[in-house]
Structure formats: C-alpha cells, structure tokens
Symmetry: D2
Subunit: 359 residues, 4 copies
Amino acid sequence: MSSSLGTLFRISTWGESHGPGVGVVIDGCPPRIPLTVEDIQSELDRRRPGQSKIVTPRKEDDKAEILSGVLDGVTLGTPIGLFVRNTDQRPSAYTEMAQAYRPSHADYTYDAKYGIRAVSGGGRSSARETIGRVAAGAIARKVLQQSLKGYECLAYVKTIQHLEAKVPETLTSELIESNIVRTCDPDAAERMIELIESVRSQGNSVGGVVECVVRGVPAGLGEPVFDKLEADLAKAMMSLPATKGFEIGSGFAGTLMTGLEHNDEFYMDGENVRTRTNRSGGIQGGISNGEEIVFRVAFKPTATVLREQKTVTNTGEDTTLSARGRHDACVLPRAVPMVEAMVHLVVVDHFLRQRALNA
Amino acid sequence: MSSSLGTLFRISTWGESHGPGVGVVIDGCPPRIPLTVEDIQSELDRRRPGQSKIVTPRKEDDKAEILSGVLDGVTLGTPIGLFVRNTDQRPSAYTEMAQAYRPSHADYTYDAKYGIRAVSGGGRSSARETIGRVAAGAIARKVLQQSLKGYECLAYVKTIQHLEAKVPETLTSELIESNIVRTCDPDAAERMIELIESVRSQGNSVGGVVECVVRGVPAGLGEPVFDKLEADLAKAMMSLPATKGFEIGSGFAGTLMTGLEHNDEFYMDGENVRTRTNRSGGIQGGISNGEEIVFRVAFKPTATVLREQKTVTNTGEDTTLSARGRHDACVLPRAVPMVEAMVHLVVVDHFLRQRALNA
Amino acid sequence: MSSSLGTLFRISTWGESHGPGVGVVIDGCPPRIPLTVEDIQSELDRRRPGQSKIVTPRKEDDKAEILSGVLDGVTLGTPIGLFVRNTDQRPSAYTEMAQAYRPSHADYTYDAKYGIRAVSGGGRSSARETIGRVAAGAIARKVLQQSLKGYECLAYVKTIQHLEAKVPETLTSELIESNIVRTCDPDAAERMIELIESVRSQGNSVGGVVECVVRGVPAGLGEPVFDKLEADLAKAMMSLPATKGFEIGSGFAGTLMTGLEHNDEFYMDGENVRTRTNRSGGIQGGISNGEEIVFRVAFKPTATVLREQKTVTNTGEDTTLSARGRHDACVLPRAVPMVEAMVHLVVVDHFLRQRALNA
Amino acid sequence: MSSSLGTLFRISTWGESHGPGVGVVIDGCPPRIPLTVEDIQSELDRRRPGQSKIVTPRKEDDKAEILSGVLDGVTLGTPIGLFVRNTDQRPSAYTEMAQAYRPSHADYTYDAKYGIRAVSGGGRSSARETIGRVAAGAIARKVLQQSLKGYECLAYVKTIQHLEAKVPETLTSELIESNIVRTCDPDAAERMIELIESVRSQGNSVGGVVECVVRGVPAGLGEPVFDKLEADLAKAMMSLPATKGFEIGSGFAGTLMTGLEHNDEFYMDGENVRTRTNRSGGIQGGISNGEEIVFRVAFKPTATVLREQKTVTNTGEDTTLSARGRHDACVLPRAVPMVEAMVHLVVVDHFLRQRALNA
C-alpha cells in the first residue's frame, strides 16, 4: 500500500509535517537483534534540520521514541513502533500556501487526488515523512550487520549542479562525514559549500547526484523478473522526495558502449567468482553477484525558492507566490542518509526472502 | 512476489525459455471489457523475434491462447490465463553454456541463488518471460482505453549508441511504427539500422535509450510515499531485461538547473490547471498532474556477443566462451512494446486503486 | 504480514501489554470522512477493562490519541496513526510467570518462535493488542455508514457456557447494550451475570458463543476463490484471542439437513432478489447476496484461572503455577465490540475492492 | 487477491469449468525439491470425478501437465505452471441455468458482482477450481516432507449427516483410503455409503464434517495477531466450496467447559514440552506448540439436487428449476484431499516465513 514497503521486513510510515508527529511501524524484524534508541538517533541526526550551516535552520530535534517491539535493548520479533514528535511548527509561514499551489510541489496533485490536504508544512508530502524511513533503515542495518559480515553502505554526494567530486580509491564513512556536504572529495566539498551558500543567498536552490556503494552483499540476493534487486532499489530511490533519476552500474553512459566493451568478464579470485569490471553494478539478471552494488540518484533543485513565482489558486485563478520560511537550498547533504536507509530496507527484505527460500 | 506485479490488477508470469511455454495469469481485470485474442496478438507481434532484419531471426510465432477469464469476447472479471507455446528450440546451441557462465548474463547469479538453473536458452532469465508482460499489458490498455478518454502511451527509440533521434512536434504511433527501429525520426532510423547491421556483422552489439510519452492520464493517480507513480514506473522499467537507468522529466540533466529554472509554473488553461513547462514529467509528489508523463530508460548493449570472451566454469575454472545462436544485436526495437506494456500495467493498477479510494 | 490486515483498507497494529502503549496505523482510509476521537473512544470504552462488575477490574482508561491522517474532524486519505498509552501496569504480578509457562496461554509458543518474549502482561499476546483493531474498526464503520445506507453490525452474546439467549424478532443495538453481558435477552442476561460472578468467585472461568448479524451489505461484496467474504470473516474472527470456532448461516448444524431442506429458494421481493430462508448466512460462493450476514464465533473459557495448575518452566522443569492478577472470568462481554470491529474491517476492505472493480 | 493465496509460497489459480482448462501458478517454491507429475497426479486422482460409485460419474481424467519451474524431476525455484485441460463438457445440461439462478449456488451473486458470468458448469464457481489447489498442495507437501521429519496430514470424514465415525487410536492414511467415503471407521463407512446412495436415488444430497489431524509441525509456526496459524487454516477451509464452519481443538463444544477443565497442562516429556490434553488443537496464541493440529470443517449438503425448486430468473421473474446433469450427492469423499491440500499450503507458507525470521 501507499505508505508501506517490503515483503518480510515491512515498514509503514505515518504522520504529517505539522501534526502531532511522525512515525513508523516495522513489522517482520527478526528477534534478538541488539537495538538501542541511539542506533536510531544517530541516523536521524544525520538527516535532521539545523545540523549545519548549509541545511535548513529549522530547529527540530527529531528525538525518536521506541514504543514497542524492543525490550532490554533487544528486539522481540514483534512490530517495532517508533515515534518522533513534531516540535518546530510555524503554521503562519504557510498561510498563503493554503490557497496558492507551490510550483513543483505536491499541493495541486494532493488536492486532485484527495480533494483535501494538510496545507501546513506540506502535510504528508513533507520530507519529514522520511524520518520513519531513516529510523527503520537504522534497524535494518543492525539486522544486516549481524548476519552479513562486511555489510556496508556508503552514499555520498557525487555532484552539486556542475561541481563533481572525485571518488578516491579508498572510500570510507569517515571521509564522507568529514564535510558537511557529505561528499567524498574534501576539495570539492569547499566549492560545493560555497555554491550552496551562494544560491541560498539569492533565494534560489540547486540539485545534484548522490552515488552509493554497497559492500558485503553476497551473491544470490534479489528475485528474477519483477522484484529484481535493481528494480526494488530504483523504486526505493524514486520514492524519495525530489528524485528524478536512477541508474545502476554503467547506467545511461553504458548505452554508448558496445557489448564487447560493456560485458563484465568473469575470473576466479581464489575460490570466488569475480568480475574484472563492474558495469553491471553488482547485479545481473536482478540478482546480486557479490561485487559492489553501485548506483546513482538524481535529485532536482529544491522546489522551494524564496522568489516570486507565477502559479494558480485552488479556486482556479492565476496568482503569484513567494515562499517564505526556512528551507534547504540543496537537499543532498540530508538525502545521503535517506539513500542509505532505503538501501538497508531493500537489502534486508531480500536477505530475509532468500533465507526463507534457501536456508 | 518475484513473478507477480500489481496490487489490484495483478499479473503473475511463468515459464522458461525452452520449456513447454510461457504464460501469465491476470487477476483483477474488471469484468465486461471487450477483449479478443487479436488485441493481444498484435502486441506480441511487435515484440516477437523475426519481425524484421534487425532483430534476432529466431522463428517463434508466439501465438497467444486465452485459457480462461474471457467469454464471447468479453472479460468475466475472473483470472485471465494466457499461454504461448515455445516452438523454436535448439538446445544444442546452449550445450557449452551449461558449464561456462556467459558474461553479463544471469547464469552465475541464478546458480548462486538457486543452486540450479535451466541452462537452455537462459531458462527463466530469457527475454521470453516478457511475453506474459506484453500480453497482460495489452489487456491493461483495453481497460484504460475504455475508462480514460484519450489515454495513449507512445514509446520510441531515442538513441542507439551515439545516434539520437529528433522528436517531432507531432508524435504518433504511425510515425514510430513506420520504421523497423521504432524511432520517431525517419532519418535517424536509417542510420540506426545501418549501425545495428554493422555491429551485428562484427558479432558485437549496441544499446540505447527508449523515451516514453503517456497521454490522457488524469491528475490524481499515484500514491504518495512508497508507491509513487514514478517509483512504480521506475521499478517496472528496471525489471525489464537489460535496463540500466530510468529518469523522469528533467532527469539527470535537471540537476544542472537551479530551482528557479527548474520549477514548473502553474497557469489556468480554461478550467484546467496546467504547467508551462514539464520538468516534473507529469508527476508531482508521486501523483500525476494531468500533463504528459515523460520518461527515459537506458538499455545496455546486448550481453550476447558472438566473439570469444573470458569467463569461468560452474566448477570454478577459468575458460573462454564464444556465443553461438541467433540473438538481437540491439534489443531496443523489441523493447519498445515492452516499455509500453509496463506503463499500461502500472497505470491501470493505480487507476483502479484511485477508483477504490475516491469513487 | 503478521500484524497487518486488509488489501485496500489496511491496518497494522503494534504494542506490548506493558510497554509504553499500543496503537494502530490505518493505511487506505478514503479522504473526507468525518471522524472525531469520540467516534473511536466510544468503541474503545465498550472493550475496556473496568467497565462493569463482570469484567476485569483493571483500571485502564484506554484514551485514544489521533496522531495523523485527520484534520479538522475529517480524514485526509493519508495514514491514520492512533495511540493508546498503557497506564495500569503491575509487572510484579507477573514475576513468576517469567519462568513458568501459563497453561493454554501463548507463553511457550512465543518462546518457541522467537526465543524471547515480553513476559509482563503477556506482551504482544495480550488482548490489549485488540485496542488497535477496535479503534480501526470504528473508522471502518464510519466509512461504511457514509457509503452504504442501512449498514449495521450487531454482535451479541448468544451463549455463556450452557446458558443460551433467545434472539428476539427485533434486534437492536440498544437491547444488546441494555445489559452488561451484551446479550439480546434480558432474562438470560441475569442468569449469565450470576454464572460469571459465580465462576469468578471460584477463581475459574467460562466461555461461550457470540452471534453476529450484519445488515445493509449489498449483494456483490466478496471475492470468489480464496478471499471469499466468509473466508475473510473466518480469518478475522479466528485471529481474535480465545476463539476456537467459526460458523456461518446453518453452520455445523446444517450438516444434519438434506440439500432440499438446506437450499435457500430465491423469490422476487418487488425489484429485489431475495431468499426465503437464510441458511447461506448472506453469502453464496464467497459473495454477499444482500441478505443479513449471520455467523457465530466460539470463545473458550479464559485461560487465566486463579487456581494452582501444573506446568513447566522455560528451563524444562515441571512446576505449578497459580495466577494472580485481575482478569476476566469471561471474555465475551468485551469480545462483542471486537467481533464488530473485525466485521467492519473485513467489509470495508471488500467494499473498496468492489468499488475499484466495478465503479 | 481473490485468486491468490500465500505470502512466500504463493499460488494463483485460474480457469472456468467449461473453458479450455484450469490451472495454477506456484510462485515461491524452493529450488531443488524432487517433483514428478505423478506426485501431483496421485492427489488429483483422489479428488477427481468418477473415482467411485458415490461420487459424480462425470468422466474427467484431470491429467496434470507441468508447464514450467521443474527440470529433470527437480524444482528450479521459478514459478511452477500447472495445467489441466477440461474434457467432459456438456454445455447443453446447463441451458436453462443461463436464466434461472440455482438456489444456494453462486449464480446470482456472480451476476450481482460482475454483471456477467460463465454459465456453463458454474464457470469459475465450479469445484473444478480446486484442481489447482490440490495440485499445488501436492507440491507443498513435498517441500514439507523434505524439511520436516514426520510431517503428515490426515483428513477423514467424521460425519455424514447424522452418521458419525469412530476415530481409532491408530489413524493411518491406509485406513482412510481403505473405503470410498474416506472415513476412518470401516463400519461407519458402509452405513455412510448406503446413506449417500439412498439420498442420491432420491435426487437429494447430504453434507457432513471432515476432521483433520496434522502431525510433525514443530513448535513455532504461525504468526501472532492476524496471521495466526488457526486463522489462516480457517480462511483456507472456508475458502473451499460448500464449507459452513471451522473449529479447532475443543471448538464450539469447548464453550461448555470451565477454564480449569479446558486448560492444557504442560509437562516435560524428556526434553520436550508437551501438553497432557489438546483442547488447544495444537496451536496457542496463533503459534503451533508441537502437538497434533486438530480441526473440523462443516460441509453443507450439495446445493445441486435433482428436484424441482422455486427460484427466479436473471430478469427478475419467479420460476422453477430442476437440475439435471451429474453431480455429487455428497461432496465429502472428494473434499478430503482438498482439505489436506489447503493444510499443506498454509503450513508450508508459515514454515518458510519462520525460516526467514529465525534461520
């Protein structure tokens, strides 16, 4: 259903931006996994507003409460309920949006679909909805880390508008977290920060590309046909706010190669079947082959810009609208933990499905 | 599940390449929809081998049989079973593939997943699996055409390797079908045909990009959060064989724009809310806005090349493999009806879900 | 999944008996349905402890909080999060249960399944889990009442042990609610109250049968084959705690009749197709026929008895256990609103599915 | 969906009584399970018409064809397609049923739901639909037998109308199959055969109760809350044609006991936790406890009787109808393998779900 994801490790998020809070229920988490609220909070802190000078200055602590499914630091196997109370609400900032549809937001389409919407803060279409995903992703990661030795998911900002990061030979979480953009190239990071600050000062916004490398996924995860691993990753990424594209391995650029150039030759690395190149991006025929899973996600420039734009009212009249309020001039630094969370959620579900099939 | 797709209009495909046949069950098709076997056959003919000089010369008629769910040319509302018998099988062409893993195919990953596989013809990983999808898509289209005035889905080849088609102002199905590449630019078509014939003569292959325009989808389809319309389209496309990327509206190129440039301003067109530009690609916040839905899909160069490649055996020894057999040097002409079928399937499911919600 | 129910109107409950609280997420509720917290609270009050002298004297207010999905008294179409905080917890009453398995409870099976369990109050196996169902059922009823004129679901206690209520010609909600047993026969009610008080004073317990009549369900709801309306009702009822049997229409007694006696003859009642008898219980071939839906559910005597019983410990030693604490000597008065809630949930889901199919 | 069942071991049946045939797709069967068409055929032979003098004399061979998912006698892990062609069709026998609704059949409700139906042979509502279930059940049993030592499911006729079988101490498949009624009491079998022949000679019909004992299910299968093992069994049984009731363990009779009488005391049997009695029917809190699972299913007398009955036409006029054709005067002998098949399907699904959770 619309607010649920997963077959065996299934999450259901709920909550509007300016209601009492947002949350998630995780149904299907295996029992006896060590889990503390800090495991969750540390990931929420990576996505929360106000964490640095280049993200929205809204003051939301986003403190997670575990409401069920965990006892004495260990999962019970029963549904885990998580709740984050909304705090920093300034409905007044949204008064005029009640009538005018914000361009490239979901205001109009929600009205078209439901005939009603929670105007304040974007309601359900707010990126606050992703809190539940990030929290659930933190739990999924715990499950994977306990079962898959070497499992690691590293997302990072690859480009901001025309600025591109160099990806170093040795990619680490520490490197990515060493700068507030969450890119893997400290030099690029400085230029990216400047760019973001510059466009924000103009009331404008920029987008970019997040790249993600997943290590330690054994060969054999993913289902052929519809639930291919890359298909589920694509859906997961395209379900994040502001995403416009997904590509895996060679992606769109791979269409410029010939088959002979593009194919990944197999070779034996001791006991292991490996490929010399990784244009497949770690997945062949929908199933992981044991190589690193590598994909990219395009995020559009933030739709909220603090400049006057033409639009229409919900009663069908042309008008103009100037957004106020505190928004991200670039969503990518905060999108990095969202991408990682979605990876954890997709991989854990396929891991459990494979365990059922082939124990 | 792995071989099923959809919530209300749900399809389940089955069948291996060189077994008795392939098929699909469609569960949830509304009753009293006019449907003949010709409606289905005409779409299967667009995807079948041997249809032109630039596709694989295998001689498969791919004749569809309706086994249930239809009586006197009208759907009953009960599951529709469809069956296409396999005919042109030459298992001998696959003998050596029993042991050597074909590079960038699913041979190795199937073994890793299942510990067994149907070697001949690629078994379940063969593109023959898409027969069921194309057949089901033809039925989905009938449902949509009966309910949504002006519904139309036009996919076409946008690029083959470095060759790009110009998209004309007036795009029609006739134009696309006027050439065997299924592109919208007759001049480009000639060059594309030459390219495909040239790479084939070298035992090599090429890929490219399919673009798709969907018209007549009313505002309001798609679910916020996980089952966003673009997320389901992305999954559907990335579940097709050989796809490496998906982008909607402005896509990856949109990351080079600023928010002010990228936003789609609303205006009133008589009674209708419209946008001046369509960088959103017809979907905002996961929900259709009534504009044309526009997306692109990257298809890699065919993995089967008739040249010697290095690989390994299923017992862990390095070896070489030269594919024989009759294959597509470029899958895109046959991929066009597959893309359209997946669109029909995604849209009809969201159409029915919306009808349940908001009748 | 284990804690979710429904295809289009989908609920997910969460929460342990003695954790922070219990709740439910309802995903798929149509928009623009009037809904207040009182609509929900009034049903929770019918199931809560301490409501009368014949139910457990635990002091739980069970106050519902709406956390999302409702604005200004109207549903938004987005997930509705509901939360009831746990209050009256006396973990000390459960100390010895940590080791000894309570007979005919779920202590042993939870340990066998999960290797861990929340001992206090029964954790997830507590009947407190049904709070989320009753709350969700109240919302389902609102949806149905708005769409189906005359929709009404009346459950009542048919028997307590050997005591049987007479069902009057005119059955009303007021009659059922006129006595604390929730039976439809005031004379029987008195004897039933006496019986319950008597067994309780002996530390013992009794069970019985709830009968349920559903009116105003139009012909055509329910899916043939697996999701037959009676199959989904059976599952819903057998998913309630303490249920041991389900029968519809003529039920087990119907096996004593011949086909000629058992068949429900059709006749025209003005424009309407009706049946003279209703041995079918309002459902034929899995689909409602417009007659009253009538079924019965067997509830076993409460497993918690305040008498010494033989059992084993979780380390495999024979032992004895005497329950203490405050429990229901008979669950049926509180089970009545649970049965009704499950009916609402099953019917609304089939109602929405039918609306999708046949708008 | 309506024609699919299961979460991980998922089946989808299709087919009308008098169309080309009926079939099933099984998605999620583990790989490398030995499987031959005889494994399936032997179960189909137990449900097919014409197998004895007390069942319908229709001449249907019901020969199964495996269309996919199996190679060289072993499952591939991919969807298994099964097909049984319809042969003995006498549409003429159904001419007058095109207009008159057969009492207590699904004719009227199908029309109410779909506005159309396949009249001949009952179309989708025919018991021929259960062919796919029985075939799929045979496969599920193979999976279970390979993984669960001692797994065995024995269903048998407990009563035919007022005649009741004695259940012997030692219950075996051979005993049940030793008589054409499939009861566990040879003396009762004779009287039951007489009764069935007698009612048939009068053009009438009888029903009865099937009891089922499932052995070798380990403790821990089943999900708490909605997907309780008994809830899924109840749904599975109530989804079979002609069923009116389900009870597990003590069932409806258990409501006459007190809690002290009803509770199943635990004791240690060597290393194993066992219960002295089995009023729980092998399931506690929705989860198997390792004891035998015991339940009963009520089957109504066959609706088809060869006597004149009052009914109405599909155009709203009162009429009478006398069924002709060849029907079962009592469905129970053929229902026994159906009950077993549904048990296999429910248990294998929960077995795989548990394996995913707790490998």
